[in-house]
Symmetry: C2
Subunit: 160 residues, 2 copies
């Protein structure tokens, strides 16, 4: 794919900033949960938000590394945080550092390459990244409902 044939509108640095902005808000949603409810409160037989957050951690760091190296481990959604909000947040912050480290290693051309993320999800690199972000926004929206149902006022969605 010749990227110069396309009308390109969003830069690599802008997408990184967009992703990290969302991750900052998701971190504040994790923080807003009481520890007990983070790992046990559910609605509609869905997962507790602490489990959704571990899925996001399993995607973020390994995802960006895989998009750069094209080497993949199977998706790991359990990280042994032992119901500790502090441990979960430490893993979250580790992923933040890994994203900042690996994202700039992608070349402009890489974004239009087709890859098989985690060895199974075939998509263009930019689509995989947008899926990582959208999946986080999707689950975070669910976390907002959990917080509201617990009587907790969550941070505003538009404040990154």
């Amino acid at each position: 794919m010749e990227t110069n044939e396309l009308q390109m509108i969003i830069s690599q640095e802008q997408l990184l900033k967009h992703w990290q902005g969302h991750r900052g808000l998701t971190r504040r949603i994790i923080e807003a949960f009481p520890e007990e409810q983070l790992f046990h409160f559910t609605l509609g037989e869905m997962r507790p938000f602490g489990e959704m957050a571990q899925e996001l951690i399993g995607i973020a760091g390994p995802g960006i590394k895989g998009l750069v190296t094209r080497e993949w481990e199977p998706l790991n959604e359990e990280h042994g945080v032992e119901e500790s909000k502090e441990k979960l947040l430490a893993l979250w912050d580790q992923a933040t550092i890994e994203i900042d480290e690996w994202f700039p290693k992608l070349s402009t051309e890489d974004f239009q390459d087709t890859v098989k993320a985690f060895g199974q999800y075939e998509n263009k690199v930019y689509c995989s990244l947008m899926y990582f972000i959208d999946n986080e926004v999707h689950h975070r929206g669910q976390g907002y409902v959990y917080l509201r149902a617990l009587g907790i006022v969550p941070p505003n969605f538009w404040e990154h």
Copy 2:
């Protein structure tokens, strides 16, 4: 802003397709609600999903038109659908047509311009568009919890 100084990675057509893909899934979430619950079921004192969908309709068509024309009406989140799922879906489909019509009228350079969306939200054009999309994913995630709490299995998130 000289766009050719930036490492551009996503094209205008790709962002349009991404947005419309999300909107197709949101339409299926609207359809998945029984009409009564669409306009009345809530959790945590939040809005019914039918009201959230009207907010999204108020943003989508008027939003893309405003980004092109730079003329804005105040955001309107109520569209008099009179608790009719059919009327709500008709407005949804109208917005789909408007987006396809107006989105290509943006020039490549427009995306890096700073605008005041709906006369009040100052941001770059590409950021406004990504906000429109993220806001939809956020509320749709909430709709997923409502459906699960109603015992309804929603369409898979990754099937656009």
